[in-house]
């Protein structure tokens, strides 16, 4: 029995050594960290890029926009991702590019008659000043405001665009774009906001100041609720890292981003 145990130990030790040797080859590693909204896109981009650049190994992590900036500054990640309206001051030391843009759609239940709102009305609804749908041309029902959790990139962008407001304390909080969509789809009096690529037939998006949340209006600069997605790297980053940032801006990569629901930079 003991002999068996000993041989098992030897085997696992040998296995470990082989694995360690396997990792010790010369592939350069790039780690991306930050915004969870961009994470699926980053994964697709990395996958594509590694096909043509087998010498690279790109790892994509989430963690949120603020973590993306921090880990890029500290060097834990070579590339940071942030989906904020503007980068905080500490990010000035970093090289940054806008990789894509994302519209934030204000969404309602399809049963709601309201189809158009002004930015001012959106603001008043989310601060709690407007509490009934009849104040914006709907039926006599209380508004159920649904928001993301504090610290979410989508929420901070949204609040910044509508004017640095304090969310009403009556708001329901959901922790992802998907759950906001489900809640709005279930509640005829709900209002929420989600990334425009995720709007589907179960909910409807309203026009803001007369412009609908479509790609054309966002590209034309008419629809106001838009946020950029930043990729950041240190100024003295490795050539391979900089090459990847350039790749993100090339036509092929932008097309990939576009197909999956975000808006091209140009």
């Amino acid at each position: 029995m003991f002999r068996q145990f000993k041989s098992l130990c030897c085997a696992s030790l040998a296995g470990g050594l082989v694995l360690a040797a396997g990792c010790g080859n010369s592939r350069e590693g790039i780690t991306m960290a930050g915004s969870t909204a961009f994470q699926p896109f980053a994964e697709k981009l990395a996958e594509q890029y590694m096909i043509t650049h087998p010498e690279l190994s790109i790892t994509v992590q989430g963690g949120g926009s603020s973590l993306g900036i921090k880990s890029c500054l500290s060097g834990v990640a070579q590339i940071g991702v942030a989906d904020l309206i503007e980068l905080p001051v500490e990010a000035a030391a970093l090289l940054s590019i806008v990789a894509a843009r994302d519209g934030i759609a204000v969404v309602l239940n399809p049963a709601n008659k309201v189809a158009a709102m002004t930015l001012e009305q959106v603001k008043d609804v989310f601060t709690g000043k407007i509490q009934n749908w009849n104040q914006v041309g709907g039926e006599d029902h209380a508004v159920a405001v649904i928001s993301r959790e504090a610290g979410s990139g989508t929420r901070s962008s949204f609040e910044q665009i509508i004017g640095g407001v304090k969310l009403t304390s009556d708001a329901l909080i959901q922790d992802s774009n998907g759950t906001i969509r489900e809640t709005v789809a279930n509640d005829p009096n709900a209002i929420g906001y989600i990334s425009h690529g995720l709007v589907n037939e179960k909910i409807k998006s309203v026009t803001v100041d007369g412009y609908s949340c479509t790609e054309a209006e966002i590209m034309a600069g008419n629809y106001k609720l838009v946020r950029p997605i930043f990729l950041m790297a240190k100024k003295d980053a490795s050539p391979a890292c900089k090459a990847f940032l350039e790749y993100v801006l090339c036509a092929e990569a932008q097309e990939l981003i576009h197909q999956n629901g975000l808006i091209k930079v140009k």
């Binding site: 603020s66 329901l172 909080i173 809640t183 279930n186």
Partner: protein, 285 residues
Amino acid sequence: MKLNGEKIVKYGLITVAFSALASLLLIAGFILKEGLPFMLKVGVRDFLLASDWDPQAGKFGIYPMIVASLYVAFGAMLIGAPLGVAGAIFLNEFVPKPVMRVVKPTIELLAGIPSVVFGFLGVMVLAPFIRQNMGGPGLSVLAAAVILGIMVLPTVISISSDAIGAVPNSYREGALALGATRWQSVYMVTIKAAWSGIIASIILAMGRALGETMAVIMVAGNTVKIPHSVTDPVRTLTANIALEMANATGMAREALFATGVVLFVVIMILNGIALSTIKTKVRRK
């Protein structure tokens, strides 16, 4: 050689046994280390009794969440405890043994259903039902309490039913011999004898209800506000940690660990009470 093997196995098993204890101590130590300094910095009173929670603005009051957690857990007990205890009594006293041998494991299977599934049911069925019939947004204290009440049933039923099953048959026979009806013997003798076990089952279930996270996030609405009616949305302590952990840094992150400390202390107290009720019962025998 053989003796050596024995020793290795013995020490190996001791290590494994202690590693469970060690991991508990490590977790407790880690949460306290991360959370306590924050509580002292902000002030325990302010942290526990202020009702503004806005980490970005430096406001860290978890009072509404403590209230919410207790409301939801008590609500769950109002639903789960009577159903569970009644179920346990029925299974032990009124159902033939062979039937019970099938039914009890089936109920225990209920414990294996993942909490997301309960949460999903709550969002899809219960919340719209509450919204249409009672008003409010649907995601509410009531929805969370009902879902949790169902989730704790297996805990209440299996522990109470063990306690009832452990009551010696001579007690029942004695009651019946004195002319008590079956129901009288149940509520005057059996339940009294099994009382501490039943209470322990309810307290343990309450601990489970307080600690449940996923299902609660999905059905409670997560609004940081003291509820005024059962149809108001609330955010529990566990939901607060899970919701904000992903994006929290600095003080906000420490505040979440401090929330964890509060939760840890509450659940430890509950489990302590449950264990001591079970122990007193054993001593009395």
